[in-house]
């Protein structure tokens, strides 16, 4: 079964969605991400959707749910790279993703996560016990 890879960088997780996801793949990603947060104790999750040409209500709900689940598991999520046409369409569709933190680029998303976690140093050399 196909899966979307989740990369670990220190205590951040990075997901880059590069395929047109069918519904089951979106559900699998949601499950894999929450499981990986729990297993690694990750504090931040970055979801890069810059390659996505479409976010419909199903994928939108997956993104909102993942972000809410991560928060409950003590991790912050930032969704980065949404294309303008996708943003326009999502809002007209009726989904504003109001509980989801977003940034324009991966770099800014990383910065946002660090700020929110009260850090100024880089993520990968920082370990807390």
């Amino acid at each position: 079964m196909d899966r979307i890879p989740i990369l670990r960088m220190g205590d951040f997780l990075l997901v880059t969605i590069q395929v047109d996801m069918h519904d089951r793949l979106a559900r699998t990603l949601q499950d894999d991400l929450t499981e990986k947060i729990e297993r690694t104790g990750a504090k931040g999750v970055l979801i890069d959707i810059s390659a996505l040409e479409l976010v419909d209500s199903y994928i939108g709900r997956m993104i909102a749910n993942t972000s809410a689940m991560a928060r409950i598991l003590d991790a912050q999520t930032v969704v980065v790279g949404m294309r303008p046409a996708v943003a326009i369409t999502l809002v007209e569709l009726g989904l504003s993703l109001s509980g989801v933190d977003t940034a324009l680029t991966v770099e800014r998303g990383m910065q946002r996560l660090r700020t929110r976690l009260g850090r100024t140093d880089s993520a990968d050399d920082h370990h807390q016990e």
């Binding site: 047109d20 519904d23 040409e53 479409l54 199903y58 326009i88 369409t89 007209e92 569709l93 989904l95």
Partner: protein, 134 residues
């Protein structure tokens, strides 16, 4: 109004929802839709194809390139023989869902297109037709 090109694809599984989006994207590009128009009609198609699979027990999507004078557009018909919808006006309300969705499929896709028609009754299946003009 004339139909200059058309085709039908089966919509039976989650995978067919992806195929429907790809087909609609390709045709929308062929007739020169801009990126926002493409995204809107493809997203509407995704919502309606999912309804066909989840609530209509499968069916088909017919796409048509239509011309009306100087206007050119893309028209999509989603047809299923499923249980049908008893209360259409309620089904068109944001947030109303008979299942596990968000209830944005019909109302949301209507906002993404220029024309929207729905015909459904219990036991007669559902037919949704949408058109987006260039």
């Amino acid at each position: 109004m004339t139909i200059t090109k058309s085709d039908v694809i089966a919509i039976r599984s989650e995978h067919d929802i992806v195929l429907a989006r790809q087909n609609v994207r390709r045709v929308a590009q062929d007739i020169g839709f801009g990126i926002v128009d493409q995204t809107k009609i493809v997203t509407a198609a995704s919502e309606l194809a999912r309804n066909t699979v989840v609530y209509g027990q499968g069916g088909e999507m017919r796409w048509e390139v239509v011309e009306d004078g100087a206007k050119r557009g893309l028209r999509l018909h989603f047809v299923d023989q499923g249980p049908g919808i008893a209360d259409l006006s309620r089904a068109m309300t944001d947030g109303w869902t008979s299942g596990k969705g968000l209830g944005l499929g019909l109302s949301g896709s209507k906002r993404l297109v220029n024309e929207f028609e729905i015909d459904s009754a219990p036991g007669r299946g559902t037919r949704v037709t949408i058109t987006r003009w260039k």
